[in-house]
């Protein structure tokens, strides 16, 4: 009987690969191999853990930010009031900023969720926390009573003035019509330095909290937090997706995801995130369906590495 011996088809036919093995066998103890595997891997894990440990860089608090980089904190608070921060212009799921979403052609996946995690940066990050103080600043009432247009004008003007000031120092800002904004940002800075802003922003007045969305967005709108990440080689352009703090290996299995962010057309695309995620989903599907793909599925036959893997078998055919 003549049978094809080198088929790489996934189909069940009448070849050697499709039928139960009827040739020579060797003794094999599944349970023993499992136990040996667990013991060997366990010793390896314990040994490597004892030698290298694991990193645990403490988290960054708003208090630490306000203390270490007060000018950056103040500038960020002004942007939150002006509605010019990254979060304020993010779009869904936080807000409805026009043309902020990442689209792929006409497809707008980002808008699918709607505004499910609403964030009003001025109110949630600055005004509402200040209102929780035992003695809220008097300027709070002036802000609250103003029109949206007036608020934006004050905050944007102050934000620009801060950017133009030497070292962005609030004390060196040129005179101007900033309304209550300098007083509000100064009060928020004090609140953060004393440590109370962390609790207020995280818990929103509740005892329990496990949702850090607002704190994280506010922290990320500043420059202090991303600078710390860059110093730990964690930025996106430093392959940070697959890095860990210190010298410990991180999620190195995300190398391809990280690689896409380093190359064109993804690197400079305004919708890079959407493009990278969709590309990875397509590539993952291709990997799962690889046995169906002509050419790719034939690589093992064209590049016969299998002769190394089964060299004893081929030697004794």
């Amino acid at each position: 009987m003549t049978r094809k011996s080198s088929s790489i088809s996934w189909r069940k036919t009448d070849d050697v690969a499709s039928r139960p093995w009827t040739g020579s066998v060797r003794e094999y103890d599944l349970i023993k191999e499992l136990i040996i595997g667990v013991v060997v891997v366990g010793l390896l894990v314990l040994g490597v853990s004892a030698i290298f440990g694991s990193p645990d860089e403490p988290s960054v608090s708003l208090k630490a930010w306000a203390t270490a980089a007060p000018a950056d904190f103040t500038a960020t608070a002004a942007k939150e009031l002006a509605g010019t921060s990254d979060t304020a212009g993010y779009g869904p799921p936080y807000n409805s900023t026009q043309d902020a979403t990442q689209k792929i052609g006409p497809v707008d996946l980002q808008s699918l969720s709607g505004i499910r995690l609403p964030v009003d940066t001025a109110n949630d990050f600055v005004i509402a926390p200040l209102a929780t103080l035992p003695s809220p600043p008097a300027d709070l009432a002036r802000w609250t009573a103003a029109t949206d247009q007036q608020r934006s004008a004050w905050a944007a003007t102050y934000s620009d003035a801060l950017a133009a000031a030497p070292d962005s120092d609030p004390a060196k800002v040129a005179d101007g019509d900033y309304g209550p904004v300098p007083a509000l940002t100064a009060a928020l800075l004090d609140m953060a330095r004393q440590g109370s802003l962390d609790g207020v922003l995280q818990s929103g007045g509740n005892f329990y909290n496990m949702d850090y969305t607002r704190s994280l967005l506010f922290l990320g709108d500043g420059g202090y937090f991303p600078d710390l990440a860059a110093s730990q080689h964690l930025s996106g352009d430093q392959w940070g997706v697959m890095n860990e703090t210190g010298d410990t290996p991180g999620q190195s299995w995300l190398w391809l995801f990280s690689l896409l962010y380093q190359i064109e057309p993804f690197k400079s695309a305004p919708n890079a995130d959407a493009l990278v995620v969709v590309t990875m989903l397509v590539l993952t599907a291709l990997l799962a369906l690889l046995p169906f793909i002509p050419g790719l599925r034939s690589l093992p036959r064209m590049i016969p590495l299998h002769r190394l893997i089964w060299k004893d078998y081929y030697r004794n055919r």
Binding site: S5, D15, P20, G23, V25, V38, L44, P93, V278, P300
Partner: protein, 247 residues
Amino acid sequence: MTAQTTPGHGAPVDETDAHTWTGRARRWLLRKLPPDKLLPEDQPSFVASWAYVFGMGAIGSLLWIIVSGIVLGLNGPQWYHVSSLGSFVNSTHLWSVELFFIFMVVHLWLKFWMAAWRGGRLLTWITGVISFVVSIVAAFTGYLLQTNFDSQWIAFEAKDALNAVGVGAWFNVANVGQLFTWHVTLLPVAVGAVVVLHVLLVRVHGVAPPLEAAESDAQLLHNRPGATEPPEPAEPPEATEPRGTVQ
């Protein structure tokens, strides 16, 4: 449907028992995976390569991940920050994950070069890839649960990719409560289930023979009981697939 005993494998199946759903399920299971196929005491002679240890290495690592993860989870997310024992257990959790991925990636590459999907083993390949993908998501949620600077930054960066495709509102990387549910319940169950299915499929179909194995090979010419018997009938879903098409 005609029930048949499986020659050479497993206990004989009593057809008369198979009149209920349960009986039919038992009959199907025993035909697919008789006990001596599930827990074999021998393997084809070609299963003597170093290439076969990586799958078992991945399973061994997964067991250590589960054990260390249970200890970490039962002590709560803050424990490892303040306890030296907790820090060590966290280290074992991290390194067993690193080893798990090393073993799994090597296993995946080797199975590619062995074209291990051949002869009706398509689902074994696909479940392997799925277990790899689900494991990546599980590890990602673990990194987000570190409650330290690394998890803060990963959450801040990762939200953009998830929001860009519309899932960030439900899979909120800054919501530690949500992440706990994913990391200590849903994803471990998913990884475990897919890995178990993958291993069972390996046992059902047996190990794929060498790519150029032929009837004329010494390993097949000898020790071949019932060589003249027709091939074992294919079972669904293979039975519905067109036969005879080979690459």
